[in-house]
């Protein structure tokens, strides 16, 4: 039990970060993480110690997030992206040529599936197989979502990127 809680605790910062990236709202993100932790601790018996705990936690988080999204859409909640945008407090190190606010908007326009996959791989450094487990999809699906997400982002942020050399494959 103690061991389990320690391991869960080690994942909390990653869960919060991912939740923030998904929801773009720090409070909502933390609520989501809290629900996720509660559910994980309640269903601890369902977790197989051999499997990666982190992927399992992300899977719970994603399920909660998707449910919330579904409910919000059914209710017709509509939150303008700009008001939710979490701008980093400190200007980050030069991130190449991609303007962050533009990237932020571009990510917001991605299909849900692609956004979930891309952020999970890029932010959390989960192995592809862990990410596929967390997203509850086969590896091949993960790779194609990743590919489509990157292509879409490139297109959406292309104007600020370096002069176009070639088309996306």
């Amino acid at each position: 039990m103690q061991n389990f809680l320690d391991e869960v605790e080690a994942c909390v910062p990653a869960l919060r970060r991912y939740a923030r990236a998904l929801t773009r709202n720090a409070d909502r993100a933390d609520d989501l993480v809290q629900d996720c932790l509660e559910r994980a601790i309640r269903k601890q018996a369902l977790w197989q110690p051999t499997g990666p705990l982190k992927a399992w936690l992300f899977r719970i988080l994603l399920n909660l997030y998707r449910n919330e999204l579904r409910l919000a859409r059914r209710r017709g909640d509509h939150v303008p992206v700009d008001t939710l945008l979490v701008e980093p407090a400190v200007a980050p190190a030069q991130p190449g040529r991609i303007a962050l606010n533009e990237l932020s908007r571009a990510i917001a326009t991605l299909v849900d599936d692609q956004r979930e996959a891309l952020l999970l791989v890029v932010l959390e450094g989960l192995s592809y197989s862990e990410a596929a487990t967390a997203l509850d999809i086969p590896m091949g699906t993960l790779m194609s979502r990743l590919g489509r997400a990157r292509a879409a982002l490139r297109k959406l942020t292309g104007a600020v990127e370096e002069p176009r050399l070639r088309t996306v494959k």
Binding site: M1, L5, V8, E9, V12, P13, R16, R17, R20, A21, D30, V33, Q34, L37, E38, I41, R42, V86, P88, P92, A93, P95, G96, R97, I98, L100, L103, S104, I107, L118, L119, V121, V122, L123, G125, S127, Y128, M143, L146, G147, R150, L153, R154, T157, E161, L165, R166, V168, K169
Partner: protein, 272 residues
């Protein structure tokens, strides 16, 4: 992405960008990218995306985790909630059990079964009203029929003699056998004895064997304009029905009681 048969394809390029490759594979790809500017441009673009995304959503490691997100605290909450759940379940079971027992206990209050005395009084009054109007067939067997009382005694399984009410001015007319249903289940027999005085006023006695509880009961009721005086003890139940004044009926009751039960005067103890 550390497959035995490593193939350089789009997936491999993604894996390269995402740092999912082993040393050997990365070296292979480095060489490939050096020779393929298109792929190298893809990889560079994705790498910039990765950096930008990481910059957009910086890690929270430095940020203190709120207490609400402490797994230990949440685990305590879950345990408490579980305990409370079990307590609520236990409490609910106790309430259900208590309500059930109370309901069973109170069933007599809400679903009162009609007392045996009420049923017998009803039947005695009904029979009285029915037969006192008869002139020629008021009784099934007249007072002078041989074995009348032995027959009725046998049928109600209790030896009875027709009480002598001549002192009160009543003569015995005769009797008949009637159903005597005291519990709504098996009708048992009852004997009706009829008396008449000089002014043709009639009194009937409706007699059954003692009830299973053999309790002493006295009950005086007026129904449908008739007075019914019911009493029961460990020998018989008897309902005296007539339209005489109440005092007369009560007076008759004592004489009949003494004669029917052969009990001493002292056990005549009506509360009503």
């Amino acid at each position: 992405m550390t497959n035995a048969k490593f193939e350089i394809n789009a997936d491999a390029l993604h894996a390269y960008v995402d740092g999912q490759l082993g040393e050997a594979e990365r070296t292979l790809l480095d060489a490939y990218l050096a020779a393929h500017p298109d792929a190298a441009a893809d990889v560079a673009s994705w790498d910039r995306q990765n950096q930008a995304i990481n910059a957009l959503f910086p890690p929270l490691n430095a940020e203190a985790t709120p207490e609400a997100l402490s797994p230990r605290r949440i685990a305590r909450g879950v345990r408490t909630a579980r305990t409370q759940l079990w307590r609520s379940v236990a409490a609910a079971l106790i309430v259900i059990a208590a309500a059930g027992s109370l309901g069973w206990y109170m069933r007599g209050v809400f679903w009162t079964e009609e007392p045996a005395s009420d049923r017998l009084i009803d039947e005695a009054v009904t029979a009285h009203a029915l037969y006192v109007k008869e002139q020629t067939h008021a009784v099934e067997a007249a007072a002078d029929s041989p074995n009348l009382m032995r027959w009725l005694s046998n049928r109600i399984a209790t030896p009875i003699d027709a009480p002598d009410l001549t002192a009160q001015g009543f003569t015995f007319v005769g009797g008949r056998l009637l159903p005597g249903d005291y519990d709504g289940k098996d009708p048992s027999p009852a004997a009706q004895l009829m008396y008449q005085n000089a002014s043709a006023e009639r009194v009937t006695l409706y007699i059954t064997a003692a009830l299973p509880d053999k309790k002493d009961v006295w009950q005086f009721e007026s129904r449908n304009g008739l007075d019914a005086y019911y009493w029961a003890n460990d020998v018989v139940t008897c309902t005296i029905v007539s339209d005489l004044p109440e005092t007369d009926v009560r007076g008759l009751g004592k004489t009949i009681f003494e004669q029917l039960t052969r009990h001493a005067d002292s056990s005549w103890n009506p509360k009503t």
